[in-house]
Each structure stands twice: as structure tokens, then as C-alpha cells.
């Protein structure tokens, strides 16, 4: 499964997705020409700094972009079906059924006034024609599956009676209740303690193999990426700048931004005296992206060309896509980048 990009039918493919927000201050290009593919049963990690458009892209896939946001262009193919062409009714059939999503804030993502059982059941009953009783049984089973003990009693509890980790499990149960083909996990563990994080990720991995689903994992945690994902897409300023398998990315990051990102994270066994890399400058304002390569103001190897010409995402070596003018022969423009 190393070379996903060669597979002919990805579970979900996003092509040139553009989601803009028409604010009073101007057009915010939150997602601006995003493309990636996710194969069946695999995990694709979408990484990048906060504000680079990761979450918006995930919501775009669910078509949950609210005004003043709008998906202006692109294709989202779910097993060949273009979601952007679907009617709202058809889309509702997809949400929670074929594609589910879990959010980064388990504390606020559950409705405080309904029991968790009620909220999970709701997902089942809206997509499947089952009796109340059966839905409840399935809900209890689902709760049990996300490893919450005493499911029979927990099912009638309210969100505020549970811890954060527990709630995230409930969110997962809710998302998986209809056995979806794709699960979008938007920073599922950021709000949780490290030990809980591990448990949740473990649970996700377990359930993934059990349900045979694809996971789009949105995160800025590179450690997590290394651990669980098969493929990685790196986003910068509303676009993907590099896309390849996880192993390849960590072994030879080609884009200067990816390189910067990787070296800014401490790794175990790193010599104590080695300084952490810092990417200079700030994330660009999505109202006014820099011309040319959007990374050029912060790029150590930028030249005049980068200011004028926008690099395209191209396959710089087999199974490895990147958007930089200076990658030649699969070599990074930054010295010593290949490890």
C-alpha cells in the first residue's frame, strides 16, 4: 500500500477546491485550489499551521460551509460521485452516512441538552429505517464499541456528566454509527491530555480496520502523522504544497516549507544542544496572499522568480508531489534536507 497515488480509484478525491469567504473586508481565500486523494481504507493526514485552511477544506467536503463562505470551484469525488453537484437532499444522505466527521472540541460539539444516546440514535434513525428500540440497541452497542463501560447506563447521560476523552469517544460513536466510508477527523485530540490522545488514536486505528474506512486526519501534530497516517498532504496558505506517503515525507521532505515544519519539531534523541529551527515571519493574511509562491517571503531559498510565478503542484518524483520551482531530480533546494 505504499504507492497510493497509483491506485486508480481513490475513495475520495479533491480537485482544485476553492472555498472563499466574502467578508466585508474582502474575499478571504480560505481554500484556494486544493487537491488531494485518499484511497480506500487508508489514512491521509492533512497538515499545516493554524489558519492554513485545513478545517475549512474538511467542512467543504461535508459542504457545511456557512455564509459568507462559498465553495466557488472544484470537484469533490466520493467514489466517483461529485459532491458539489449533489442537491442538498442528496448531500444530507451523504453526511453522517457515507462521510462522517469528528471535531476538535469534544466539549462543545455535543448538544448539552440531549442525552448522548439521543444524539447517537438521531444519526442512526435519520439514515436507517429502524425502530426506536433497535436504534437504541445499536446505540448501546456502538457506545460499547468505543470502549465506554456501562454503556446501558451511560446512554442516558448528558454530555456535561462526561470527561473530554469520553465525549470524544461519543463523537466517534456518533460518527461511526452508520458505518461511513470516510471519516474526517478534524484535530480529534488537540483538546485532550496526551494519554487520552493515544487512547483515542488507538481506538480510531482499531475501528478503521474493523470498518474498513478511509480517514482524513486533519492535524498540526507531526508526531501523530508519523504514527497513524499512510499519506500526508502539507498545506500552506490555502494550498497543498507537498503530498506523498508518510515514510517518504519524513525521509525526504522536498518543499522548503515542509522542511521547515519538520525541523521545528523536537524529536526524541535529538542532541540537546541542537537548536530547533524556526520558520521566520508570519502566516500570510488570507485576504492578501503574497504573489507568486505564497511561501516566498519566508523561504530561505526564494528568488525573484518566486515572487512572480506561482509554482504548480507537480510530481517531482514518483509518488511524490510538491509545489516549488527549485526541486530538481527529486532533490530539495535546501541542503541536508534528505536524511
Amino acid at each position: 500500500m505504499t504507492d497510493v497515488m497509483d491506485q486508480t480509484s481513490p475513495q475520495i478525491e479533491v480537485r482544485n477546491l476553492k472555498t472563499y469567504f466574502y467578508t466585508e473586508d474582502g474575499v478571504v481565500r480560505a481554500v484556494d485550489g486544493l487537491s488531494y486523494r485518499l484511497a480506500k481504507g487508508e489514512t491521509l493526514a492533512l497538515v499545516g499551521e493554524s489558519g492554513c485552511g485545513k478545517s475549512v477544506s474538511a467542512l467543504s467536503v461535508m459542504r457545511l460551509i456557512a455564509s459568507p463562505g462559498k465553495i466557488v470551484e472544484g470537484e469533490i469525488l466520493l467514489d466517483g460521485l461529485d459532491l458539489l453537484q449533489c442537491s442538498e437532499t442528496e448531500m444530507r444522505e451523504v453526511r453522517g452516512n457515507r462521510i462522517s466527521m469528528i471535531f476538535q472540541e469534544p466539549m462543545t460539539s455535543l448538544n448539552p441538552v440531549f442525552t448522548i444516546g439521543n444524539q447517537i440514535m438521531e444519526a442512526i434513525r435519520v439514515h436507517q429505517d429502524v425502530s426506536r428500540k433497535e436504534a437504541r440497541d445499536r446505540t448501546i452497542a456502538m457506545i460499547r464499541r468505543v470502549k465506554i463501560s456501562a454503556a446501558e447506563t451511560r446512554v442516558d447521560e448528558y454530555p456535561h456528566q462526561m470527561s473530554g476523552g469520553m465525549r470524544q469517544r461519543v463523537m466517534i460513536a456518533m460518527a461511526l454509527a452508520c458505518n461511513p466510508e470516510v471519516l474526517i477527523a478534524d484535530e480529534p485530540t488537540t483538546a485532550l491530555d496526551v494519554t487520552i490522545q493515544a487512547q483515542i488514536m488507538e481506538l480510531l486505528a482499531e475501528l478503521q480496520s474493523e470498518f474498513q474506512m478511509s480517514i482524513l486526519l486533519i492535524t498540526h501534530n507531526l508526531g501523530l502523522v508519523a504514527e497513524v497516517s499512510d499519506q500526508v498532504a502539507v498545506m500552506y496558505a490555502s494550498k497543498v504544497v507537498e503530498h506523498t506517503s508518510t515514510a517518504e515525507l519524513f525521509a525526504s521532505p522536498l518543499h522548503p516549507y515542509t522542511h521547515g515544519l519538520l525541523t521545528s519539531v523536537p524529536t526524541l534523541g535529538m542532541p540537546r544542544e541542537q537548536k530547533l529551527n524556526v520558520i521566520p515571519g508570519q502566516v500570510p493574511n488570507p485576504l492578501h496572499f503574497p504573489t507568486g509562491c505564497r511561501f516566498h517571503p519566508r523561504c530561505p531559498v526564494a528568488e525573484q522568480r518566486c515572487k512572480q510565478e506561482e509554482p504548480l503542484l507537480r510530481e517531482v518524483k514518483p509518488g511524490h508531489w510538491a509545489a516549488c520551482h527549485f526541486i530538481e531530480n527529486g532533490k530539495s533546494p535546501i541542503k541536508g534536507a534528505d536524511r
Partner: protein, 326 residues
């Protein structure tokens, strides 16, 4: 829950007691006394003194106070109204249901109209409907009730002959009511209560609709709404099931707080429309220095406020699982 209610009631006792005490000394401090209604050149001043004696008005204020409290606490007696020539209890039992009827309808109007419009405005945020209702609501919210009452009265109760659709005062058609069918009586009551309850309720409804809109807009932004949508629920279910229930919670509190507002409003509205309720009794009692009546009316107003708040708290606990009464 029961212990909570009992505790709340117990707490409110000193509150009502304080209310009674302040009112007692306040009304006694005001110039005049209930026997002023005997102000008449043909009346023997001596007879007036006798009346004062019979009603204990000649005693020191402290003694009067203790006696009054004793009567209220031990025998639940509120004394006699010198101005109305009957026991205070009788007068109140006659007026209270009328005020409750008026306030209840106004409350109903306030909630149904207020919440309904608030929801529509929030759902269609920035639409023409939204803007129109916001401006209308603000106008009614900012309108003194006596003024609204006067305008309605003049427009729809005979001032303009072509639109004489409603009676100008009273609760029923006093001549024909007796001979009406059950349905007819109901209709008769309805057309009589319409203008007063509208006057009383519409300002409050405007206030609620403003709150409701704001709350719902706030709730719509919440994460759990996104979760609900992500489940594939229709927008209607999302807004009305997940959104409304959350948005309604603060409204319940406001409803509890709006009770005193409604009662105070009733004072004016009853005056304008001649509604035979507590407001008129209260104003008469204050002006006539009808001590016993004044104290009892104020006590009841206070008690209704306490009950209103209690009911709001209980309702709140019922809809919001996060709040547990203890």
C-alpha cells in the same frame, strides 16, 4: 427538587415579610388615612374618630404594625377595606383572577409572538423580514403602554366609527353576556380581552423577539449545531430541535423576570381599558390610603413575583440538564 422548592419558599418568607414591613410604614407615612373618604361637611367629626377607633387607627403605629402582622401570620387575615366596605380578601379574590387572566394571555402573546418572530428573524437573518420585524419590534418595545393603549382604543374601539371592532372597556358585554351560548360567551370574552392583552403583551413580545433572535443567532454559531448538520439532519431539525431548545433556556429566565414587568404594566393597561383587576385595586388603594388593601395587594404582587421566579427556575432546571436544583 422538592427540598429545593421548599427551601426557596422558605427563603421568600422573610423577603415578603420585609416587603410588608416597608410597605406598612411607607403607606402610613404618607399623608392622609382611610377615613378621608368620610370627608364630608355633613359627617360628624366625632363619628369619624369612632371609625378610626374601631379600626384601630388611633393606636400607636408600632402597635398597629404588630397587630397587623399578627393577623396575617396567625390567622392569614388581611383585614377590612374601609374604602370598599368589604373584607380585603373578597375584593382581591374578585380582582386577582382578572389580572391573572389578562397577564396570562399577555404572557402567552408575548411568548408565542415573541418567540415565533424571533425565530423567523434569526433564521432569515438580514432578510427584509428580519429588518422589518426588528424595526417594528423596537418601535413597540419603545412605546409607552398607555400611549399604545390610547391609540388602539381610539382606532378600534369607537373613536373611528368605521373601525369600531372592539369594546372600549370591561370584561364582557354586560347586557348580553348572560343570554349567550357557551361559544358566544367565549367569543365575547375574547373580544373584550383582546385590546388590553395586546397592549400589555406586544411590548413584551417585542422584547422577547429581540432576545430570541439574538439567542438563536448565538446558538446557531455553536459547535454542536455543526455536529448536528454533519449527522445529515435537515436544517429544520437542526434549528428547531437542536437550536431552539438551547435558545429557549435564557428566555425562560427572562419570562420569570418579565412577570413583575407585566404586573406593573397591568396597572396602566387596566387604567386605560377599565380592566377590573389588581392594578386598579392597587392604584385606588394607594390613593385612598386604604391601608389593609394596599398592603395585601402589594403582598400579592410580591408573592406572584416570587412564584414567577420560582416557576422560571424550575422550568429552567427541567430544560437544562446542566442545572440541577439542590
Amino acid at each position: 427538587m422538592h427540598t429545593y422548592i421548599i427551601r426557596r419558599i422558605l427563603i421568600s418568607i422573610p423577603l415578603l415579610f420585609g416587603l410588608l414591613t416597608i410597605n406598612f410604614f411607607l403607606i402610613h407615612a404618607a399623608p392622609g388615612d382611610p377615613t378621608d373618604i368620610f370627608y364630608n361637611p355633613d359627617m360628624d367629626p366625632e363619628a369619624r374618630e369612632n371609625i378610626r377607633r374601631i379600626y384601630g387607627l388611633d393606636q400607636p403605629l408600632g402597635v398597629q404594625y404588630l397587630k397587623y402582622i399578627q393577623g396575617v401570620v396567625l390567622k392569614f387575615e388581611f383585614g377590612y377595606s374601609i374604602a370598599k366596605k368589604r373584607p380585603v380578601k373578597d375584593e382581591i379574590l374578585e380582582a386577582l383572577p382578572n389580572t391573572i387572566q389578562l397577564s396570562a394571555l399577555a404572557l402567552l402573546l408575548e411568548l408565542s409572538l415573541g418567540i415565533g418572530i424571533g425565530i423567523l428573524a434569526a433564521v432569515k437573518q438580514q432578510s427584509t423580514f428580519d429588518n422589518a420585524t426588528r424595526v417594528t419590534a423596537l418601535t413597540f418595545y419603545s412605546m409607552p403602554s398607555f400611549y399604545l393603549g390610547l391609540v388602539l382604543l381610539f382606532l378600534f374601539a369607537g373613536g373611528v366609527s368605521a373601525t369600531h371592532w372592539f369594546p372600549a372597556s370591561g370584561m364582557v358585554d354586560i347586557v348580553r353576556h348572560e343570554s349567550m351560548s357557551t361559544l358566544g360567551r367565549l367569543g365575547d370574552r375574547a373580544i373584550h380581552i383582546f385590546l388590553p392583552s395586546l397592549t400589555l403583551g406586544i411590548g413584551a413580545a417585542a422584547g422577547i423577539s429581540r432576545y430570541m433572535r439574538g439567542e438563536l443567532l448565538e446558538v446557531i454559531r455553536q459547535d454542536y449545531m455543526r455536529t448536528a448538520r454533519a449527522k445529515g439532519l435537515t436544517e429544520r431539525v437542526v434549528v428547531f430541535k437542536h437550536g431552539l431548545r438551547n435558545a429557549l433556556m435564557p428566555i425562560i429566565t427572562i419570562m420569570g423576570l418579565s412577570l413583575p414587568f407585566l404586573f406593573s404594566g397591568a396597572v396602566i393597561v387596566e387604567q386605560v381599558f377599565g380592566w377590573p383587576g389588581m392594578g386598579r385595586v392597587a392604584v385606588d388603594a394607594a390613593f385612598q390610603r386604604d391601608y389593609s388593601m394596599f398592603l395585601a395587594v402589594n403582598l400579592i404582587f410580591g408573592a406572584m413575583v416570587v412564584v414567577g421566579n420560582l416557576v422560571a427556575d424550575i422550568l429552567y432546571a427541567m430544560v437544562d440538564p446542566r442545572v440541577r436544583l439542590s
